[in-house]
């Protein structure tokens, strides 16, 4: 589904990704762990098409299409979802309005019919319910005044509504309390565990991986994947740290 080959990317002239290769097939969950500043969020931004990140060499194909050629919104319409490490506050734009615009824009890009107000609200209400988010929060401006955990939960509600094929979830577990972690873990499984979908789960902790069991675990250090293994690698990292492994 996703094939990254020898990816080099820089921001403001500073090279952050230094020859990263990774292949993710449909039906798989891959966890990416690694020290602070290793380039994990950068990988997410490059895949999402954030302006300012320049790919200097390498390639990324998504379902055979050159992902790097697509504009950010086209990547979303193609089925790529980026769950933000730091979800952004948007004063003056309600969650409902934002998500309806987003979903219908994706549908328009795919030549699908727009959802009516009623259809959309039913969908949004259902997803908010499943993730234990109070429906009133959907009427509030996007992420404004949300607690850290509420923002992350909101990311998952958004993912449920747009129902992507491939999700990059950047530290979705950080800031969540113990119960919320389980709700979010269940949400990821429910929305994304399917034979035709895949997930790239960026995390620092084993906890989330207890709920969302990865098929593969990779260590990203200094802009490259330096080690790959099964889910036992995460346990090993938890007990031993990156020292030694990432070297």
């Amino acid at each position: 589904m996703l094939k990254i080959e020898n990816l080099h990317a820089e921001i403001d002239g500073k090279e952050i990704l230094k020859g990263l290769s990774l292949e993710v097939n449909a039906g798989e969950v891959h966890a990416i762990m690694g020290p602070n500043g290793a380039g994990k969020s950068t990988l997410g931004y490059v895949l999402g098409g954030r302006p300012g990140y320049e790919v200097t060499s390498g390639s990324v194909t998504f379902d055979g299409v050159d992902l790097l050629e697509l504009e950010a919104h086209e990547r979303a319409a193609a089925g790529v979802f980026l769950g933000f490490q730091y979800p952004v506050e948007i004063p003056g734009v309600s969650n409902v309005q934002f998500l309806r615009e987003a979903l219908n824009a994706q549908r328009a890009t795919r030549d699908e019919k727009a959802l009516s107000g009623g259809e959309f609200l039913k969908l949004a209400r259902g997803q908010a319910d499943l993730l234990g988010m109070d429906y009133d929060m959907l009427k509030r401006p996007v992420n404004v005044g949300f607690s850290g955990g509420e923002k992350k939960r909101n990311e998952m509600v958004q993912m449920g509504i747009v129902n992507p094929k491939f999700a990059i979830l950047d530290e979705t577990d950080s800031g969540l309390d113990i119960d919320a972690l389980r709700v979010v873990g269940d949400g990821i499984n429910r929305i994304m565990r399917a034979p035709d979908k895949a997930v790239l789960l960026i995390t620092h902790y084993q906890r989330l991986l207890d709920y969302v069991e990865p098929d593969f675990v990779h260590v990203l250090a200094d802009g490259r994947i330096v080690r790959s293994g099964g889910k036992e690698l995460a346990q090993q990292l938890e007990s031993e740290g990156y020292v030694g492994i990432a070297a």
Binding site: A72, F84, G92, A102
Partner: protein
């Protein structure tokens, strides 16, 4: 016609960002066809259409609005309006029906004075829409008796030329004046406002949005003077500038020595859609009373790049994301419009502008 037009000079402080040359150019545009369109909102009430400053009786239904000779006052542009204009006078404790006025300009210059006089406890609501091209020059004098309420909403939608609006208001005790302006056309714009809160416990709100694009220049010079006890005023202005345009706001709150317990809110915010555009903000407070609350803020910024990417990453194309953020930015300036149909019209005008400008 080579009549020399006396126009304000940009050497005058209040005209420092002004564009008198654009007024002269607009006045020189040849008269032509009136633009077609449905400019009235779907609301019951009195209607007046002025074409190049002359009442079009066939398309008007004046009801309680009168046409009368009026003085344009002493303001440099307002003074030129002296002549026949429209007058709304509402008796004590009466409520006038909504009044809609459409000003259609086809070229050249046209000048119309107006007065709105509300006796004690009277209420009125006025919506004005400017379309077409040429120089449209207006003066409007508003007098609110004790406890009177006036809501006035003005849509400046001329596609070319210049619109200059001079407003003077006197707000009596416990009265409420709410004026909302929207500049969303392609004409040059000059709004001059002089509001006096002259009765105790009165409320005056004068705000709006100027949306400028291409090489357009729009500006507002406003002063609200508190001369009585316990007055409240609000000046909520949003200026958006695209391309190489300039939007300028000079807003002043003056609190006289006796105007204790005044509560003045002034919020001037500018948004640059391009680095080549300009927003000028000049907030001024002049306070002679000691027991006064005046909150004010003036900021100019650009759209939040992180928010733009966040929206794009959810599938919203760049221009649409810009439009949603800009609309949210402008929205604060329309919140005071009580009538939903009028407020929706302002939002729709702003949306149409965004569609064209982005």
């Amino acid at each position: 016609m080579a009549a020399v037009m006396e126009l304000p000079s940009t050497r005058e402080e209040s005209w420092r960002w002004g564009d008198p040359a654009a007024i002269a150019a607009a006045a020189g545009l040849p008269r032509g066809e009136a633009p077609a369109g449905a400019w009235f909102l779907e609301l019951e009430g009195a209607r007046a259409v002025f074409v190049d400053g002359v009442l079009d009786e066939g398309r008007s239904d004046l009801r309680h609005v009168a046409i009368a000779p009026l003085e344009g006052g002493t303001h440099v542009l307002g003074a030129r309006t002296t002549g026949h204009g429209w007058s709304l006078r509402v008796e004590a404790h009466a409520s006038a029906e909504l009044i809609q006025i459409v000003h259609i300009a086809t070229g050249g210059e046209n000048h119309v004075p107006a007065e709105i006089v509300l006796a004690d406890g009277a209420q009125a609501s006025v919506v004005e829409t400017y379309v077409g091209t040429g120089w449209s020059n207006r003066s409007t004098r508003m007098t609110l008796g004790a406890g009177a309420k006036l809501a006035r909403a003005v849509r400046l939608l001329q596609t070319a030329g210049f619109v200059s609006v001079r407003d003077e208001a006197d707000v009596g005790a416990e009265a409420s004046l709410i004026v909302t302006m929207l500049g969303a056309g392609d004409a040059g714009t000059r709004i001059d406002g002089a509001i006096t809160v002259s009765g105790d416990d009165a409320f005056a709100e004068y705000g709006g949005a100027l949306l400028a694009r291409r090489d357009q220049r729009q500006e507002c010079a406003l002063s609200v003077r508190h001369a009585a006890l316990n007055g409240q005023s609000k000046q909520i202005w949003r200026a958006v500038a695209a391309d190489t345009s300039t939007a300028s706001l000079a807003a002043r709150v003056e609190v006289a020595r006796d105007a204790q317990k005044t509560d003045g809110v002034q919020s001037l915010r500018g948004l640059l859609l391009k680095r080549t555009a300009t927003v000028n903000l000049k907030p001024e407070l002049e306070i002679f009373a000691d027991d006064v609350k005046c909150a004010h803020g003036a900021t100019v910024g650009e759209l939040d790049q992180r928010a733009l990417f966040y929206m794009q990453s959810r599938g919203i194309p760049h221009a649409k994301a810009q439009a949603l953020l800009t609309r949210a930015f402008v929205g604060d300036a329309f919140a005071q419009i009580a009538d939903e149909t009028v407020r929706d019209a302002f939002v729709a005008d702003a949306d149409a502008w965004l569609e064209a400008a982005l």
